[in-house]
């Protein structure tokens, strides 16, 4: 009896292999996307925390009021669990009032507000805001 040489098995195995490869790639891609989405989510959380830090910083600046001494730098540390923010503001000095305001009747104090938002997986967003405080002069 002539021996039969079948090709079905190798073909099936080959197809199975290709299928497994495709499947593993699909699973890997989905996992990557999920990881990316998660990272985006954490980055968004970090941004939200940094924004909250800016708001808190602005409020803190406002309570300094006028004409209390402008400190060269102050820092507020939010030690809450992640996500959290770390805010500091720097006094940049006085400048001329902006266009549209009487010269010599207003002064402008320049501040720079930094807020660092931190979330899980090392997501960090840093926001910097330049603020100008207008003060009437006597």
């Amino acid at each position: 009896m002539k021996a039969q040489r079948g090709v079905a098995l190798p073909i099936a195995l080959g197809l199975l292999l290709i299928l497994m490869l495709l499947l593993s790639q699909g699973i890997g891609g989905a996992a990557g996307e999920a990881r990316l989405a998660s990272l985006q989510q954490f980055r968004h959380a970090a941004f939200e925390a940094a924004e909250a830090g800016l708001v808190a910083g602005r409020l803190q600046l406002a309570t300094l009021g006028s004409p209390v001494a402008p400190p060269p730098q102050q820092q507020r540390v939010d030690a809450s669990p992640l996500p959290r923010s770390l805010t500091r503001f720097v006094y940049r000095g006085e400048s001329a009032p902006p266009a549209g305001y009487s010269l010599g009747r207003f002064s402008a104090r320049d501040w720079e507000l930094h807020s660092r938002g931190e979330a899980a997986r090392g997501a960090v967003v840093e926001l910097t805001e330049g603020l100008q405080q207008l003060e009437p002069q006597p």
């Binding site: 406002a62 309570t63 300094l64 402008p70 001329a96 549209g100 997501a123 840093e126």
Partner: protein, 483 residues
């Protein structure tokens, strides 16, 4: 020094007589914060008397110039110089910081007019101390009419005695309407600590610097600007009694003989009018920038009638291009002087971008208070009725003072002013309380709460036009991600 003609004195005497026995006016109020005790001293002029109260209203001290005691036949105008070296908004006497009050005084005795300049040390809570005083005998250039004083820091060679180069700037002269040659008009800078005359500009011999065109009293208060933010004044603007606007550029550190270069930048007199125009208020100077990043100064000042009668007054708004350029005297001498013909009536302003300015006609009303520009809105006061321009400590019941807000660039009525408080629906003016003095400035005031909008007031009335002016402005913003 020449004396004013009798006619001028008669006119002034008439104004003064009209002003007698009338209720006191609301005056200027300035605030001193003392670091030692946290106390606050509020100084204002109540009639001819300076009054200081604490934040609760308790009387701290008063000062009445002896010449005006018992009557109010004169004018007291004052300003405060706070030598606040660490810029913390408080006066710490123990570290050498000072609060000095400078006041000018014009009064009538018999048929003669007199002027005085004095300084009070008000840096210690609850006390005041007369530092020095000058009158016609000790400083003849004071003349018979003095403008409101302006405090500034100017280095004048090695002449300064004040450790911070503090000076008092004021204009002086004889209240003769129009241009009359050599009538003693002078611009003066006096040392803040000692009262020593440091510099003068006049057409007369003996002045530190002679300006031939200075032939009308410098009745207008001076606007002193520090354009390069080095803490020292380098530009002056003021109006005179002949409706001219002057500009002086200061060379810091120069000796008195070469301290300034300057001249007339606008001559807004109208020879057709029976009564000449003049300026009392300090010009309001504001920087503007157009879409092509071209910069100009808006210089706004209202006029008054210098004689007994009505004149067609206006709020004049000039545009000075290339405003930061420092001019030589030759350039000043060759400047094209703006006239009323160069300034169209606001309603006829067709191209506000290229205009050299505009005017807002006030009719027979006058404008003697200092204007203020906030967030592009120009606010000014005007009054109708007979006002004793010299007896500024008084208010007359027939004087009606109103505040108006306009767009500073186009001159059109501001939409910021609610018409509900105006006289009628088409009027953007706000009537100020009865008893408000004619020379009422628009003031910028600290906001009600730390983070609220800026506040503008006139005679204690908060003007809604400033409500949209934020106290805090975001200048830039950026984001950086790192993970």
């Amino acid at each position: 020094m020449q004396r004013a003609p009798c006619t001028a004195i008669s006119v002034v005497a008439l104004f003064l007589s009209l002003a007698l026995a009338l209720p006191p006016a609301r005056g200027t109020e300035l605030t001193i914060r003392h670091a030692s005790s946290g106390a606050v001293t509020l100084v204002r002029n109540q009639g001819a008397q300076l009054v200081a109260q604490d934040a609760r209203g308790a009387l701290l001290w008063t000062y009445a110039p002896p010449q005006l005691q018992g009557s109010c036949q004169g004018a007291v105008q004052f300003t405060l110089w706070q030598d606040d070296r660490n810029r913390d908004g408080q006066i710490t006497a123990s570290t050498g910081e000072r609060a000095l009050l400078f006041a000018t005084l014009s009064w009538q005795s018999g048929s003669a007019l007199h002027s005085q300049l004095f300084a009070l040390d008000v840096g210690t809570p609850g006390t005041r101390q007369l530092l020095w005083q000058l009158d016609e005998s000790s400083l003849p250039a004071l003349g018979q009419l003095v403008s409101a004083p302006t405090a500034a820091r100017i280095r004048i060679g090695r002449a300064n005695r004040d450790p911070q180069q503090g000076v008092v700037l004021l204009g002086a002269g004889v209240p003769v309407p129009g241009k009359t040659s050599r009538n003693g008009a002078a611009l003066l800078a006096v040392d803040a600590s000692s009262g020593t005359l440091l510099w003068s500009a006049s057409a007369a011999q003996g002045a530190s610097q002679r300006y031939a065109a200075a032939d009308a009293a410098f009745a207008g208060a001076i606007t002193a600007l520090d354009l390069d933010a080095d803490g020292y004044t380098d530009r002056l603007y003021l109006g005179d009694w002949a409706a001219r606007i002057w500009r002086f550029d200061i060379s810091p550190g120069n000796a008195a003989a070469t301290l300034t270069r300057g001249g007339v930048i606008a001559d807004l007199a109208d020879p057709a009018q029976p009564v000449a125009l003049g300026f009392i208020a300090a010009p309001d100077v504001t920087l503007f920038t157009d879409a092509a990043a071209m910069r100009w100064f808006n210089i706004a000042v209202g006029s008054v009638a210098t004689g007994n009668g009505t004149a067609d007054n206006a709020l004049f708004v000039l545009r000075e291009r290339d405003p930061y350029a420092r001019l030589t005297q030759a350039q000043f001498d060759g400047l094209p002087v703006l006239t009323q013909a160069d300034l169209p009536e606001q309603a006829a302003l067709t191209d506000s971008a290229t205009a050299r300015g505009y005017r807002v006609s006030l009719g027979s009303a006058q404008s003697a208070g200092r204007a203020l520009t906030v967030n592009g809105t120009l606010l000014y006061t005007q009054f109708t009725g007979t006002a004793p321009w010299l007896a500024l400590c008084l208010a007359t019941p027939n004087v009606i003072v109103t505040a108006t807000a306009i767009d500073a660039v186009t001159g059109s009525a501001s939409r910021e002013v609610p018409v509900t408080t105006a006289a009628n629906a088409s009027d953007s003016r706000i009537a100020l309380p009865t008893g408000t003095q004619a020379q009422t400035d628009i003031e910028g005031s600290p906001p009600a709460t730390p983070d609220s909008a800026l506040r503008c007031t006139a005679a204690g009335v908060t003007l809604p036009a400033c409500a949209s002016a934020p106290r805090w402005r975001r200048v830039y913003w950026r984001r950086e991600d790192a993970d």
